[in-house]
Subunit: 336 residues, 2 copies
Amino acid sequence: MNTEKKVTINDIAREAGVSRTLVSSVLCNMQLGEKRYRVSEETTQKIKEVMAKYDYHPNNSARALRSGNNRIIGVVLSDISNRFFAEVSRNIEDWTNKYGYMVIFSNTDENAGKLAEGVELLYSRGVQGLIIVPCLHSEKIIDSYKSKIPIVLLDRDYAGSELCSVVLDNKKSASELTGRLIERGHRNIEFVSYSTTLKNIIEREDGYRSEMRKSGLETNIKVHHPEYGNYGQVEEIILHAAGNGTEAIIFATYHLALLGRRAMIHNNIKVPCAFACFNNSDTFDIYERGMLYVKQPIEKFAKHAVELLMKRISGEKAGSECEKIVLPPEIETTEI
Amino acid sequence: MNTEKKVTINDIAREAGVSRTLVSSVLCNMQLGEKRYRVSEETTQKIKEVMAKYDYHPNNSARALRSGNNRIIGVVLSDISNRFFAEVSRNIEDWTNKYGYMVIFSNTDENAGKLAEGVELLYSRGVQGLIIVPCLHSEKIIDSYKSKIPIVLLDRDYAGSELCSVVLDNKKSASELTGRLIERGHRNIEFVSYSTTLKNIIEREDGYRSEMRKSGLETNIKVHHPEYGNYGQVEEIILHAAGNGTEAIIFATYHLALLGRRAMIHNNIKVPCAFACFNNSDTFDIYERGMLYVKQPIEKFAKHAVELLMKRISGEKAGSECEKIVLPPEIETTEI
DNA sequence: CTGTTAGCGCCTTCAT
DNA sequence: ATGAAGGCGCTAACAG
């Protein structure tokens, strides 16, 4: 394989008859948008030619060592194979690339222990900054790094985090969704969620409750908290709803919506005439026509997170106040 | 932020009253499974304490520079937000971590130009090896790197590639799928695919044709090649099939299956009584009960790809023959 | 505009 | 079992 020794900056300098410094300057100018170091057009050309001729690639480790910046950031999230985070990742990657940075991912599977491992691994790898999707009980762990490395929270924030964050306005999402269902003439609207301390989820329930109250449907409020992943309990909820004139059900998460829909199909239930969840999906788009859902503004999530992080990495007001970005919800309907 | 200077190996050495060499040795021993360099238990302990006390993290760039290995590999694939590749990515990540390596991704969007950019970027970043999902017309680009860096092809291979690869037995997958439909009593089975030179896709069609022939259904062979992403054409195929006693349709890709299913639903067609595609999906699992499909052995894809790559990186028989791994298909049925 | 001089932090012989 | 010395490839100050 690597029989031929790597060509270094010295080789280029020698071959071009100039000093290493010049080659380095040209390199730097290339990486940015030209001109930061003054090098004559003539020598610049010559050096570029030689670099091309020898297929020269500057050694990144050396650069990183010298400059103290390896142009890598870390992203810590639940599971990159989860639909939502997969798309977020893709967008983060694209944005990061625009800054000349690359991304390394770490999956937590919603487990604080794994999050700790992941963050530590990335930190010890020397990444320049971290975008983190916190999970339950990860607050302290994250806090312990905030003086060591720039961090931006994504999708979720927690009380007392003095960190930049980009999140959806979960409460408003749920209340708008509820409002839409009420507009459609529904009154018996139920809400299926989890019993959790995860801020995101709690706010969704809040949104539902407050909208119901605002519309004078306080007595119609009905919230369920099945155990996580317990299909049987979801099925019971559905069966019960079917026999009680429930007109619509709101599921607080995509996963819950899947379970719920499965229960309906398996029991051949058609009663609940509206259906909503917190995410889009290519298949729901086909199978659930005219269904309301909250669209996650994924591109914005990614864009803002990367921008915030880059700002902190480049040190503008390093330790200063944190910026919290709350994105407005977008309620959408699948094709009719 | 980084007000406190990073603590280096020298600081640790000074503080522990030993030489850098010893600290380095301890470090190395820690990273592997103990004992490669002889250091007395006593000093080892002392050094470890000091490292912990000062929260010492060896500088990765320096290590990489010195050792010539940054323990990073690159993965070039279509689109990490695509369901199949998202899962593959996750698995590659997990496997790679077991080797102490990390992953950087690059997306091609099935575009050879982007693939070229991505590969070049990763190469210039100095990754130790590359796992690549080739796309149309990317053969030459990939070939041009094979003498420079270890490469393993994933999911797709191309004629004449002298590279390691891990792929599914696409032909067999399609023929088994066809066989299953025939077992179920179907005779008029159609196949919807693309007109392409992508080996994967072609082999699937081959599999269908050969199985039909083998079962004496040669005259029932019917293949369609709609343009990529052209919903109208797919809809026509479905409408036509519905009026002609077609009993089953096989879609060569997941995307085609989605389009096809959409056409059926929009036109309220129930005629085609079997339905199959080349991937699983959480929603198909719910909406298409008893549907046959080919399950991609994603974990195996990842495991083998990473293993092959690591073998090449560590230089065992560097330039020698390439290993081609062809995974057997697993035909599955969604819940009934 | 160009060259010289110092290291960045670490690993690796080679001595002791 | 431990230490000294050299250098990986590059960039950032300075000089000219």
